[in-house]
């Protein structure tokens, strides 16, 4: 076998091996780079401000992009369920203490059927209070009607805070 063929095979094999590693990393990219724990910790320390400052440009870019950057998951950022994520796939998400809720809140301040989050016809996500005792808050305002959710805006239910992320 000629020297050249062997050299090509040797380098080719290394390339293929690395290609596998790179493809494997691509498969789990959202795992490796998707969650930003430090950012969230910083946010919590500095209050909600930096987060609001960061998110508007991305949101507007997304809106013009025709919904490509529509929120893809719901993240619990505070409360006993911190870190839980639920993928948004057009289904209605119910929140409350009832066992059949999508997110079961173990929280004395939550009602059994507290709120729900659902997409309207345009794919805009809406949060609606289901007549809870202590209310649902979007940013600082108590909800009275179904309200569209901006990605990154905190929704407070009792001790739990959730938000939609891309």
């Amino acid at each position: 076998m000629s020297e050249l063929t062997l050299t090509v095979m040797r380098l080719g094999f290394l390339a293929v091996l690395w290609l596998f590693v790179i493809v494997a990393v691509q498969v789990i990219r959202s795992d490796l780079f998707g969650t930003r724990v430090t950012q969230r910790a910083a946010r919590r320390a500095e209050g909600q401000r930096p987060q609001q400052r960061q998110s508007p440009p991305r949101q507007q870019g997304g809106r013009r992009g025709g919904g490509r950057n529509a929120p893809s998951k719901l993240v619990v950022t505070e409360g006993s369920l911190t870190g839980t994520t639920v993928a948004l796939q057009g289904q209605t998400i119910t929140l409350g203490r009832a066992h059949d809720s999508t997110i079961v809140l173990d929280d004395d301040y939550a009602s059994s059927r507290h709120a729900r989050i659902y997409p309207d016809r345009d794919g805009q996500w809406i949060v609606e209070d289901l007549g809870s005792t202590n209310g649902t808050y979007l940013d600082r305002t108590r909800l009275t009607t179904p309200t569209p959710i901006q990605p990154g805006a905190p929704i407070r239910i009792g001790k739990t805070v959730i938000e939609l992320r891309k």
Binding site: D31, Q91, T145
Partner: protein, 459 residues
């Protein structure tokens, strides 16, 4: 971050199962070893090796069966673990086949290894099919402890081979390393035990010099495990297994309690134990001497550590190419303990890094699984199993490269050795099962009342 649209799937919740991703990766993972066979054959004989189709088909069959079983019994499991395990096992087969072509003691090992791999995949399938829920293992916490202890003590009653008592010999069947299985069983015990005791371990402590000092009675179990691992070291002269056990316990304690002080204690006790045993046990002592001065050891007749270092050195960055190195110079144990030196010589630093990254990715998937798991037992078990796997890779790779004294452990999936391959397939199966439970969508509320509600309440 910009284009995560197709990749937002790895988080608990209603997720696509990603079985097709796994299939694609699996095909890739089978093709790489086949390529490697062709490379070895062309380099050694100038022709495609006769066994290539056989081994390729064998590996393909194993991977296919494993994939179908995962598809049926663990549909939401992690998409990466099986392909990585298959690739590592396939690379191991190729490297052993390649070393079979050299005049080494022991005869052809690749067919046996393929048989062991088949048994390993068999156990993998068995675990996936019969272990309906990993939480069942929690019931066997203390039985696991007893079983692990028995497995660990058994080799003492069998004659030492190659200076270490880690084998049990079953007449007519061959020899087994029970330590490989014990590592899984002991992880089950630690997970079950720590799940119950972790609050006591984490909260009842006094603060002293920035460290949380645990109470004496909480310190008991760690001291018992420490004593046990030192005893293994003394009676079986097996540095690797005792390091693995102790490291595993420290990692799981840390994860369960979030107390840095356990790590400090653990490292301190490891150092004390290792130094003490090395000072009076001749077998361990000679290993340490070989590690401290491989060149002196080379002249004294213990050639392997120096040969391994030379193998890495002559491999350089890109390696000599498969089938074109001189790994036969390592001699005894080239296919088992020292197989990583062959990787270093023939694939170079580039190949070594790629393989270590693959091991790293497998461990990362395990830890990710534990993050996603919903039950504390599953979390601890997943961390424990991936830590055991990672520590084993570290102990072997570190030993071969001269970072720590060499111990008689096998590189998971890569090295020759039946027990190791079988046990590691079982380990991957348990991780896949936990991952399946973790990623499985939570039992959704009945869809129809929801839809009704939406229609009624919609403004």
């Amino acid at each position: 971050m910009t284009n995560t649209g197709s990749n937002t799937t790895v988080s608990p919740g209603g997720l696509p199962s990603r079985r097709n991703t796994e299939l694609a990766m699996l095909i890739f993972a089978v093709l790489i070893p086949v390529f490697a066979y062709a490379n070895v054959g062309l380099a050694k004989d100038g022709a495609l090796p006769a066994g290539m189709l056989g081994y390729g088909a064998g590996l393909c069959l194993l991977a296919g069966v494993a994939h179908l079983v995962v598809r049926r019994w663990a549909p939401y499991a992690d998409p990466l673990m099986l392909p990585i395990a298959t690739l590592l096992n396939g690379m191991g087969l190729v490297l052993i086949y390649r070393l079979d072509l050299e005049p080494l003691p022991g005869g052809a090992a690749a067919p046996t290894q393929l048989m062991w791999s088949t048994l390993g995949v068999g156990l993998f399938v068995g675990v996936l099919v019969f272990l309906k829920d990993h939480r069942v293992l929690q019931r066997y916490t203390y039985i696991s402890m007893v079983a692990a202890l028995i497995l660990l003590i058994l080799p003492v009653f069998f004659p030492a081979r190659f200076g270490a008592r880690i084998w049990i010999t079953i007449p007519g069947v061959g020899s087994l390393q029970p330590g490989e299985f014990a590592k899984i069983i002991i992880a089950v015990f630690f997970a079950g035990y720590l799940m119950v005791k972790r609050d006591a371990l984490a909260l009842a402590s006094r603060r002293f010099m920035g460290l949380y000092l645990p109470r004496g009675r909480d310190l008991g179990p760690i001291l018992v495990i420490w004593a046990l691992s030192v005893l293994i070291l003394v009676f079986e002269t097996d540095l690797g297994t005792s390091m693995l056990f102790f490291g595993l316990f420290v990692v799981m304690l840390y994860v369960a309690t979030e107390r840095t002080s356990w790590i400090v204690f653990g490292l301190g006790l490891t150092v004390v134990g290792a130094v003490a045993v090395a000072s009076f046990e001749p077998h361990v002592q000679s290993r340490v001497d070989d590690w401290l001065d491989p060149m002196q050891a080379f002249q004294n007749g213990s050639e392997q550590p120096a040969q391994a270092l030379w193998a890495f050195g002559s491999g350089g960055v890109l390696g000599s190419g498969l089938g074109q190195g001189f790994s036969r110079l390592i001699g005894f144990a080239a296919k088992s303990d020292y197989i990583f030196a062959t990787v270093g010589e023939e694939l170079g630093l580039t190949g070594v890094m790629a393989l270590l990254l693959l091991y790293g990715l497998l461990v990362e998937r395990g830890i990710r699984t534990s993050l996603a798991a919903r039950d504390p037992f599953g979390k601890l078990l997943a961390v424990g199993l991936s830590a055991a796997f990672g520590i084993q890779v570290f102990v072997v790779a570190g030993g071969v490269m001269g970072l720590i004294p060499l111990t008689g452990m096998t590189m998971p999936f890569l090295a020759q050795g039946g027990s190791s391959v079988i046990a590691n397939w079982a380990l991957v199966a348990i991780l896949l099962k936990i991952s399946d439970t973790a990623r499985r969508p939570a039992p959704a509320p009945a869809p129809s009342p929801d839809a009704e509600m939406t229609q009624v309440v919609r403004p």
